[in-house]
């Protein structure tokens, strides 16, 4: 069973505020969805062998965004830096 408190706990881990009605709806829906996911318990274990290769390129300096471009979408900046919330 997923209850109200569990939804609030996960929301706090994910740093997402929910309103009361959302928390209520999510508790019921998560119950349905997580029960549905239970079927994964029956899946046969897979061979962990992978066919993946690392892909590297030389670590060369190349043109990137200018400081101005990088800051253009920031809601708040100060002295050419991003401005985040205060840290106490």
């Amino acid at each position: 069973m997923v209850d109200h408190e569990e939804v609030e706990h996960v929301a706090s881990l994910a740093r997402v505020d929910l309103d009361e009605a959302e928390t209520e709806r999510f508790a019921a829906q998560f119950d349905d969805i997580l029960s549905y996911f239970e079927a994964l318990d029956e899946v046969p274990e897979a061979d962990a062998a992978t066919e993946l290769d690392n892909v590297f390129r030389p670590d060369e300096v190349r043109e990137g965004l200018t400081q101005e471009e990088a800051l253009a979408n920031a809601p708040e900046t100060e002295d050419g830096y991003f401005k985040g919330p205060n840290v106490s």
Binding site: L34, D41, V43, A46
Partner: protein
């Protein structure tokens, strides 16, 4: 939004930079694909004012190929939906079935093509988001093999699953657009050498004589009766043209939807952590929490601006990856993914392509399906296995029901887009 179908979030023209195979053609681009200087919202209030400082690789390739971009198309928020109704900018109507959804999440792209508001369009497909709207709007859509098309500049939802893909009125048109966007990109390390020299449009020759088409019963038996009727007619059309149809079995698809949602939500919860109101989006710095030094509370307050479906997926992804649940959900989903891959590999020992209805149902009425997320997820049953297996697939129109168009999905072996393009061109 500005047209009858509301296919576009932003209507702004971007000029071609060169002459090429797409000279004189117009292309609509899904609004999660970055366009330098033109807003790219992902259908989210969180990016309502975001203007990318650079082009996605596929956008550069379109411009170099002579295409004129005509706007950015509506979509489910961050690609999370099957109807385009989770967009923060309102729904899009289906030009092929007015009053019904265009499918999702690339619903605006498919609707723009179906309504003739663009010659071609780009969508992105994480679990069916190109093929579903193509099917519902009666147009053609291709989900390329993972690694064929660069994701550089595509705003990430679930990196291990998604590809950018073409939407067009014809198989030939979709293949021409694929030819332009495919091929390796040093800015996306998951792209492969495939596609650099491959011609796709020339494969649309309609020759299916001797082709073996596998039909997995698991992807047909649960489908709507009227959809199955059109699907069977398409199979008959193949047989008349000299193809053979054989039954194949994909038992692993029974847990594909579960595996897909666990993996996609897990990746989403991590990818969407970047929307914290510092580098873009509404500000995190000016809230009361921020002033008080409550750093995490300030982020959480900004992130309340996601829509409900996005919050649902971030939270479920966080849950499935959290201590104590990781083994149960995420690791088992990876096992289920490996199982799907093995199943397809076995099926391709007897079949050249695998056919099913793209969507098990006709397009829903607008507003019909928003309340029950699980029911919505189940509609993706036939498309998500393809993403889990990294394979290419095409959706091609295959008749109509009383409620709207039906799509035929053809799945091919990795990097064998030519075979599914050829097969699809035989029945369009």
């Amino acid at each position: 939004m500005s047209s009858d179908t509301d296919a576009f979030i932003t209507r702004e023209e971007i000029d071609p930079t060169d002459e090429g195979p797409l000279s004189g053609r117009t292309v609509a681009v899904k609004d999660n694909i970055s366009t330098a200087g033109v807003p790219t919202t992902c259908g989210s209030a969180m990016l309502a004012d975001y203007v990318p400082p650079y082009d996605a690789t596929v956008v550069e390739r379109l411009k170099d190929a002579g295409a004129r971009i005509v706007g950015k198309t509506n979509m489910d928020e961050f690609g999370m939906g099957t109807t385009t109704e989770t967009s923060a900018f309102g729904p899009t109507d289906n030009p092929a079935a007015p009053g019904r959804v265009p499918g999702g999440s690339s619903g605006g792209s498919a609707a723009a093509v179906a309504a003739g508001e663009a010659d071609l369009a780009l969508g992105s497909d994480t679990g069916g988001s190109v093929r579903c709207p193509a099917a519902f709007c009666g147009v053609v859509g291709i989900k390329p093999t993972y690694g064929l098309v660069s994701r550089y500049g595509l705003v990430a939802y679930a990196n291990s699953l998604e590809q950018i893909g073409p939407i067009a009125p014809t198989v030939q048109g979709a293949a021409e657009l694929l030819e332009v966007i495919a091929g390796p990109d040093e800015r996306d390390a998951t792209t492969r050498e495939h596609g650099a020299e491959t011609a796709y449009a020339s494969a649309a020759d309609g020759d299916v004589d001797g082709l073996t088409i596998g039909v997995p019963t698991e992807l047909v038996e649960g489908a709507d009766e009227a959809v199955v009727e059109q699907f069977e007619a398409a199979l008959e059309d193949f047989r008349v043209q000299g193809a053979e149809t054989v039954e194949v079995s994909l038992p692993s698809v029974e847990t594909a939807v579960q595996a897909y949602y666990v993996i996609a939500m897990g990746e989403a919860s991590s990818n969407l952590a970047r929307f914290d109101g510092v580098r873009y989006g509404p500000t995190a710095a000016a809230t009361d929490d921020a002033e008080a030094g409550n750093w995490n509370d300030a982020f959480a307050a900004v992130r309340e601006g996601f829509g409900e479906e996005v919050k649902r997926r971030i939270l479920l992804g966080t849950y499935a990856l959290s201590a104590g649940y990781h083994d149960k959900y995420y690791d088992k989903a990876q096992d289920a993914r490996a199982w799907v891959r093995r199943d397809f590999a076995e099926a391709f020992e007897t079949a050249d392509v695998i056919a099913s209805p793209t969507m098990p149902v006709p397009p829903f009425e607008l507003g019909e399906s928003l309340d029950d997320p699980l029911q919505m997820y189940l509609a993706d049953a036939n498309t998500v296995p393809v993403n889990l297996a990294n394979l290419p697939a095409i959706s091609v129109p295959a008749g109509e029901t009383a409620e709207g168009p039906v799509g035929l999905q053809l799945v091919g072996e990795a990097f064998d887009e030519r075979t599914i393009i050829r097969a699809a061109s035989a029945v369009e």
